[in-house]
């Protein structure tokens, strides 16, 4: 498999939240605005990239029986680094994301990539895999956040973009809106895939 393929699979074929349907907890919880989705996505991407690199480097050193414990320590360390950095330089975003930053530790995408990919491949493909998955996750969260923000607040990244008489659908920025949006996106993705298959 080529590096490009490792990178691009995270962008469509194995797009984390919408195709693998993994890591849904932050996907549903923090996507009330595009900015929050982007922040959460970038934090996760950083952790995913770093943990993939380190796990791949240590793959021949870590004994099989304690691998999960070792991965969790590695992942948790990067999560704490992200948390401290956000607290120091992006305090408002840190406040909004709240508990979901520490919870990146248990995001199944990250442990999943460490276990399924980085522990079996060398550093460069693992980097490509982590970066691709991370960017896919970030784009998905930003996309979902943007839809919910535009329909729920009438803004995009905080800027008003809808016409004056637009009445925001408050339900879209509440939990039910997250489920509605996610369901519709999953349906749309499946429909597109089905069509692609038919054309083949």
């Amino acid at each position: 498999m080529s590096i490009t393929k490792e990178f691009t699979k995270g962008l469509w074929n194995e797009l984390p939240p919408f195709r693998l349907v993994l890591g849904l907890c932050p996907v549903l919880a923090v996507t009330t605005a595009a900015k929050n989705g982007l922040g959460m996505g970038l934090a996760t991407t950083f952790v995913l990239l770093c943990s993939n690199i380190l796990v791949s480097l240590l793959r021949n050193v870590i004994p099989k029986k304690v691998r999960i414990a070792a991965y969790i320590v590695v992942i948790a360390s990067f999560v704490v680094i992200v948390e401290l950095t956000m607290q120091a330089y992006f305090y408002p975003l840190y406040k909004v994301l709240g508990i979901f930053i520490p919870l990146i530790v248990v995001n199944c995408i990250i442990l999943g990539r460490a276990e399924a990919f980085a522990s079996k491949n060398s550093v460069i493909p693992s980097m490509a895999d982590g970066l691709g998955m991370g960017i896919g996750f970030t784009l998905s969260l930003t996309f979902l956040g943007a839809i919910r923000e535009i329909t729920g607040y009438g803004t995009f990244f905080g800027m008003p973009i809808m016409w004056d008489s637009f009445q925001p659908f408050t339900i879209m920025v509440k939990p039910p809106g997250a489920f509605l949006c996610l369901g519709l996106i999953l349906g749309l993705m499946n429909w597109i895939s089905a069509r692609q298959k038919m054309h083949q």
Binding site: I62, P63, K65, S77, V80, T85, A88, Y89, Y91, K95
Partner: protein, 193 residues
């Protein structure tokens, strides 16, 4: 046996490495994190009670000794000075009273160099919503702007403050906290300027 030792060693090394990196990150971001906390939590209150300054009161904050408690330990307070052209024009610091209607009330108070109030802001209070919460609103807090310390008393007790109707206990707690703040002002002024 060899496997067991390897597992223990590898896990220990990974944990130690993690601890090292984290303690470094913690140190490296400490000052900036404390500043952010100040800016977003206390900051709005501090900036609300001070005006017409050209420095950053949050960055210039100083810790001063304001006497000793009953056991002889020094009592310290963080003071936020407002300066213009290098000259001290006012200071802000927090004060509190623990006998409000719902417990502790924390207040940020600003005093100019003559000792008159430049403003107050209620930071945290667990007063009941409705009456008690009215004390955080400008209708109540704006009364204190430019007030001479001697006038800090409820109108009913011979002062110039109109209590929030329905929240006498809260109003009294605010007055007590402010009196406490005024009392330590001479010591603070001496240390800051």
């Amino acid at each position: 046996m060899r496997d067991l030792i390897k597992m223990v060693v590898v896990l220990t090394v990974i944990c130690a490495g993690s601890a090292l990196i984290l303690s470094y990150t913690n140190q490296a971001t400490k000052v900036q994190r404390e500043y952010q906390l100040l800016k977003y939590v206390k900051g709005p209150s501090i900036l609300a009670v001070l005006s017409d300054y050209d420095n950053d009161p949050l960055k210039d904050s100083i810790v001063v000794d304001i006497g000793k408690d009953s056991e002889g330990n020094p009592v310290q307070k963080t003071v936020f000075p407002a300066r213009k052209d290098g000259k001290l024009i006012a200071v802000a610091y927090d004060t509190s009273d623990d006998k409000g209607y719902g417990g502790v009330i924390d207040i940020m108070v600003g005093l100019d160099s003559a000792g008159e109030l430049t403003g107050i802001a209620i930071m945290t209070s667990s007063e009941s919503p409705g009456y008690g919460a009215e004390a955080s609103k400008p209708a109540f807090t704006d009364q204190f702007r430019g007030m001479h310390p001697n006038d800090i008393n409820l109108a009913a007790d011979g002062g110039k403050i109109d209590a929030v109707s329905g929240a006498t206990l809260t109003s009294k707690a605010v007055v007590r906290a402010l009196k406490r703040a005024v009392k330590i002002f001479p010591a603070i002024k001496k240390e800051v300027s």
